[in-house]
């Protein structure tokens, strides 16, 4: 394997480029029109255009990507996560084109990509699943039929896209009255996100934790599970903070959950990296939720507590190497790691996306801090893609230490020109329940309060005063006077600026 095309963009494309470079493998980036100057393009050895900015016309264009791979002479393709990472047609197209797809087989993607088929596989492996519909409900299924099925499961229940992922096409339904509207919304979201409007129903576990197990499987039948990740801190069903290990998982429970995860993967002959997601109930019982047949966004926390470079191992497995890692050490976390997903969203305005140019960027550094980012000072955050611009990961000797470092790192982090979720994380990390690890997947909804409001809006007057002072001094000392909004350029203002500039 000499040259790998990375069929993705943003921080994950950068992450894969770095792994390739560490292995002496050349890299080929692909880019859409608006991504010509993106960081992954700047860092790759080659960069090939694949179409206009809309994902459907570029990063989801299997033909254009395969064409770029062939022309560039790449011998393998890494799909990252999102886009085509869990698309069996893409995996098959790579195989047909003689390219190694760095991921599981198209068959495994197809099987585990169907939420309902994946549930069957879990049941076959002897792993409990959340009670729910065994068969998908197609877009043609009438509301009345869905209501009937729902009755058998009971309310509240979860309505989920069969092809779902990342919280898309997912709705909680509390009563029969809500079902039709939620069904319509979920189908439409699923259709637009995955091209498949089929859904299924599941019993809603109240106040569960979301715990997942990373796996690596090689081509010789070895499947190795890793210490669990705790991903209960979610907003709109999207993970925002992850950590490893979970304080709610005892060594004994870890052994059972990781064994269950490995059993599911073995049942389907799974290879490469994948993740089994579980719901952990407050009584300690756990249920198979779904399998993600790709590298996970939050893979770095596992890397931090096990010392294993998961992307390198994806590549090594894909080129036929056997897994030589020590299974015991993968289940023995070295202290604690935590990740915050930094989004270009404004928590003050209901997490409205905040695309635009990054005017200034100060990235935190120092011991125990890792920043996996696709951003740079002067770079653009386009409106077309997922607004996650970086992942900030900290490691500490204890959970408290990792959290303290995260708070310090967030205070150092400045993304100027666009709004980000950094203040949101600062708020969570000061919460007593979070600090004590007393939470479940409903944490954010309960804590953040009603939509439209925000606990951040109560400002600290001392900080406001400092902001006022800083802004006034900026105006007073800046060398190039600019027009102020109040009207025409004010000459006295300019003169004051110029006089200062000469000092």
């Amino acid at each position: 394997m000499k040259k790998i095309l990375i069929a993705n963009r943003g921080e994950i494309a950068v992450r894969v480029i770095r792994a390739c470079r560490d292995m002496g493998i050349a890299t080929v980036a692909i880019y859409s029109e608006c991504d010509r100057a993106a960081l992954h393009v700047r860092l790759a050895d080659e960069a090939w255009p694949v179409g206009p900015s809309a994902p459907r016309e570029s990063y989801l264009r299997i033909d254009a990507i395969i064409d770029a791979a062939k022309k560039s002479g790449a011998d393998a393709v890494h799909p990252g996560y999102g886009f085509l990472a869990e698309n069996e047609d893409f995996a098959a197209a790579c195989r047909d084109a003689g390219l190694v797809f760095i991921g599981p087989s198209p068959e495994a993607i197809t099987l585990m990509g169907s939420k309902t088929a994946a549930r069957q596989a879990a049941i076959k492996a002897g792993v409990p699943v959340v009670p729910g519909t065994e068969e998908p409900l197609s877009e043609q299924t009438s509301d009345a039929d869905v209501l009937k099925v729902a009755e058998g499961i009971g309310y509240p229940l979860m309505l989920k896209a069969v092809a779902g992922g990342g919280g898309k096409g997912m709705r909680m339904v509390s009563s029969p009255a809500e079902l039709p509207a939620s069904l319509r919304a979920a189908r439409s979201e699923a259709q637009s996100a995955f091209g498949d409007g089929a859904v299924y129903l599941e019993r809603r576990i109240l106040a569960p934790r979301h715990i997942e197990v990373q796996l690596l499987g090689d081509h010789y039948g070895t499947v190795l599970p890793f210490v669990e990740r705790e991903c209960s801190i979610q907003r709109r069903h999207q993970k925002v903070i992850e950590e490893s290990p979970s304080l709610s998982v005892s060594p004994e429970l870890r052994r059972r959950m990781t064994a269950a995860a490995a059993a599911v993967a073995k049942t389907v002959g799974y290879t490469n990296a994948g993740t089994i997601e579980f719901l952990l109930d407050s009584d300690g019982s756990f249920y198979f939720l779904e399998m993600n047949t790709r590298l996970q966004v939050e893979h770095p926390i596992t890397e931090m507590v096990t010392g294993v470079d998961l992307v390198q191992w994806q590549i090594r497995i894909a080129r036929g190497e056997p897994l030589t890692l020590d299974p015991e050490s993968l289940l023995t976390p070295k202290a604690h790691a935590i990740e915050c997903r930094i989004y270009a969203e404004d928590p003050e305005t209901g997490f409205m996306p905040s695309p635009g140019r990054i005017q200034g960027l100060r990235v935190p550094h120092g011991p125990g801090v890792r920043d996996d980012s696709g951003a740079y000072e002067g770079g653009e955050v386009p409106i077309f893609y997922d607004p996650m611009i970086s992942k900030l990961i900290t490691w500490g000797e204890t959970r408290d230490h990792a959290i303290a470092r995260m708070r310090r790192a967030l205070a150092e982090y400045q993304v100027r020109g666009i709004r980000t979720t950094i203040p949101f994380f600062q708020w969570i990390l000061e919460d007593e329940d979070f600090k004590a690890a007393r939470f479940d997947t409903t944490f954010i909804d309960r804590k953040w309060g009603a939509p439209g409001s925000s606990p951040l809006q109560s400002r600290d007057p001392a900080h406001e005063e400092l902001a006022v002072i800083a802004a006034a001094i900026h105006m007073f000392t800046r060398s190039i006077a600019t027009t102020v909004a109040a009207g025409e350029p004010v000459s006295i203002w300019k003169q004051a600026g110029r006089a200062e500039a000469r000092r």
Binding site: G360, A467, I469, I473, G487, E500
Partner: protein, 175 residues
């Protein structure tokens, strides 16, 4: 230099004067002594004197990001991001005093980012409650619902479902 700076829900009267190597910044009559250095195009290293009048030693690393409107900035200070609006003294006039951010005039709902109008949830003449959804804009893979800030009645709806709009485009007006 005399300025008015809006922050949070109020407007502060601010003046800056140089005294030797230091700056005296008065905010609503309270003066702070600052040793300021510009460390970047939009970055300042400030050492601020404490209230007891001793030497300026309190470290405040501040940086600014210009917003669309000239004079508007996001100030990054002490690990926080605080929006301010800077104007020459007298510019804000009387309307923008404490609490004025909540206003009482018509609400002009504009697109906060470029995106596609996927749903318009109200029509002219509809009575709407505070926080009621008005229009759904899709951008960055997410649907974002724009809501009313206060109770009112929809006057104009400037968009239809389907087309894309630029950031700042007027979508509808609630009075």
């Amino acid at each position: 230099m005399n300025l008015e700076i809006a922050v949070g829900n109020g407007v502060r009267a601010v003046s800056v004067t140089r005294k030797g190597a230091l700056l005296h910044v008065s905010v609503d009559g309270r003066t702070t002594v600052v040793d300021a250095r510009r460390v970047g195009e939009m970055e300042l290293s400030l050492l601020v004197a404490p209230d007891d009048g001793s030497a300026p030693v309190r470290g405040v690393d501040a940086s600014l990001a210009a917003q669309r409107t000239s004079g508007d900035f996001d100030v990054h200070v002490a690990g926080r991001t605080i929006p301010v609006q800077v104007r020459l003294a007298g510019s804000f006039g009387r309307q923008k005093t404490a609490g004025a951010a909540q206003g009482t005039g018509p609400q002009r709902i504009t697109a906060p980012m470029p995106g596609k109008i996927v749903r318009v949830l109200v029509k002219p003449g509809d009575e709407v409650k505070a926080r009621q959804g008005l229009v759904v804009v899709e951008a960055m893979k997410m649907e974002n619902e724009l809501r009313a800030a206060r109770d009112g009645r929809v006057r104009d709806v400037a968009v239809t479902e389907g087309p894309s709009v630029d950031a700042g485009a007027l979508l509808l007006v609630v009075e």
